[in-house]
Symmetry: C2
Subunit: 302 residues, 2 copies
């Protein structure tokens, strides 16, 4: 792959998704028929057509600072397990009460609420088990691995993703101002995206300004990604997005388009992407995938 | 404390519970009024009068192999966070649908189902964060800490506690034989109790026969504890147990007394405790607390 000369983001994303899917399939038990229902439920949600954005960002961050990313695959996959658990729990009747996700029935519609809750619990637990499997990560120091595990737990917990989901659940049907909406998204989506970049960077040996720049990039694209998602929810093609468009509005969820209008929301997302690209200014061509992903957020349609 | 000469289990348990409660309170955010609801929910369930059996066993295992246990408090507390999360999720309407636990309303009755699910998620996530906080555990090697974190995740996940809960949820109202009931309890209760002992022992430097003996002790008392719990559920005094007695039967849950009768269940629990004590045969007086705890399981009434 030559990032500068004819770099194709589309090919890159396809190749990376395949790499991550193979790794995930290998780490998890229960492929094939006749497996315990909990393995079926875990695989059902994990292999539901996700883009693998978080693991891709983790690997790309490591490569941007000059490390071969293969040794970090378990860490990248752990981030996807955490993301998948959060989707299963968010979809539950007591939360967003969604029947569909990515065009398929949600976990609780297929397996029942009890098993869906347990499948989420199992994915979260398995993520942390995967982070400890040193035999899969030759050359990674246990000190750095523990540190990164702590950062991931913090980003996923009540100071991060769970905190954002709590604010989201509690603000449904309530008036929400722009500042609160920012906070919800920075926590609910942004924290895990940011730590995906930090995990890859730290395990690749980044520190100081280099690490801060990649964190900053993660912050900006995390929020831009959420604004783009809000816009898609209003405008998107139902078939591409895999769930009913306009569903946020129907549920009384406040979104960026609802507060700012579509055009101003788009402008906000563009400004964030410009900031994200600026954060990468000191990186060489090895950051080409990160640059291309940032630009892609503005034009994606699913 | 002189274990052999006038060792008082009652004093020991009171002192240890106080030690663990202080540590837990210090590790968690959000004491006092006006805190975010998720911190309130986490504290509500965590400080609901639990016996702290798992952390006490973890510390006692470390002491049985001759290590001062203070440095392991974060690991011991992480086990209690995992136990508490499992209780919150088990009590949910989609699982056991319990309104009371230890004489108080369950989390979802107080905070609503959405927050209760998130409080469980937060406790599980925070447990793993706590396991990475090396600044709280001077002298513990990162290699051992990662290894123990992996064992705890395995015991809590679909090969352990979650696997047991899945079997439990799926077998409600179904005919269950003794072998299946053993399996459910070995996974649902036993795995976390066993790993509590292993974690303490491994971090104290145990290996080989010493570690195997403490694992074995954990297996036996874990199952004995569950049988004793089943008996209490039939016979116990409602006020002491804090929930309606006979609730398992009302829900169509199979229990040891239902399959074996009360007397044979009691005999089974006694046999397990004898095996547990035999596993400790090669340990000196520093294992006195573990011996006393094993005997106590047979006579506890709450």
């Amino acid at each position: 792959m030559k990032p500068n000369d004819g770099f194709s983001l589309k090919e890159y994303l396809v190749e990376r998704k395949a790499l991550i899917d193979r790794a995930l399939a290998g780490y998890l038990p229960g492929e094939g028929n006749g497996q315990p229902v909990i393995f079926q439920a875990v695989r059902y949600s994990l292999f539901a057509g996700g883009k693998r954005l978080r693991p891709i960002l983790c690997l790309a961050a490591a490569e941007a600072v000059g490390r071969e990313a293969g040794a970090l695959l378990p860490v990248a996959c752990a981030l996807e397990l955490i993301h998948t658990y959060s989707l299963i729990h968010d979809d539950l009747p007591a939360m967003d009460n969604d029947d569909y996700r990515r065009g398929r029935l949600t976990s609780h519609k297929v397996f029942g609420e009890g098993i869906a809750i347990l499948a989420g619990d199992a994915l979260l637990t398995e993520a942390f088990r995967l982070l400890t499997r040193r035999e899969l990560m030759p050359g990674i120091s246990p000190e750095l691995l523990l540190h990164v595990t702590g950062e991931i737990a913090e980003a996923a917990g009540y100071f991060g993703m769970i905190g954002g989901q709590v604010l989201d659940v509690r603000s449904e049907g309530e008036p929400v101002d722009l500042e609160t909406l920012h906070l919800i998204h920075r926590l609910k989506t942004g924290a895990l995206i940011r730590v995906s970049l930090r995990a890859g960077a730290i395990l690749a040996g980044a520190a100081g300004t280099e690490l801060a720049s990649l964190s900053d990039y993660g912050c900006q694209i995390g929020l831009a990604f959420q604004i783009a998602d809000d816009i898609l929810n209003v405008e998107g093609d139902r078939a591409l997005l895999g769930k009913g468009t306009g569903s946020d509005a129907a549920r009384g969820k406040v979104t960026f388009p609802a507060l700012l209008g579509i055009e101003a929301s788009r402008a906000r997302a563009e400004a964030l992407i410009i900031e994200a690209l600026a954060a990468l200014a000191s990186f060489d061509d090895r950051a080409a995938p990160l640059r291309a992903i940032a630009r892609y957020i503005l034009v994606r349609n699913s």
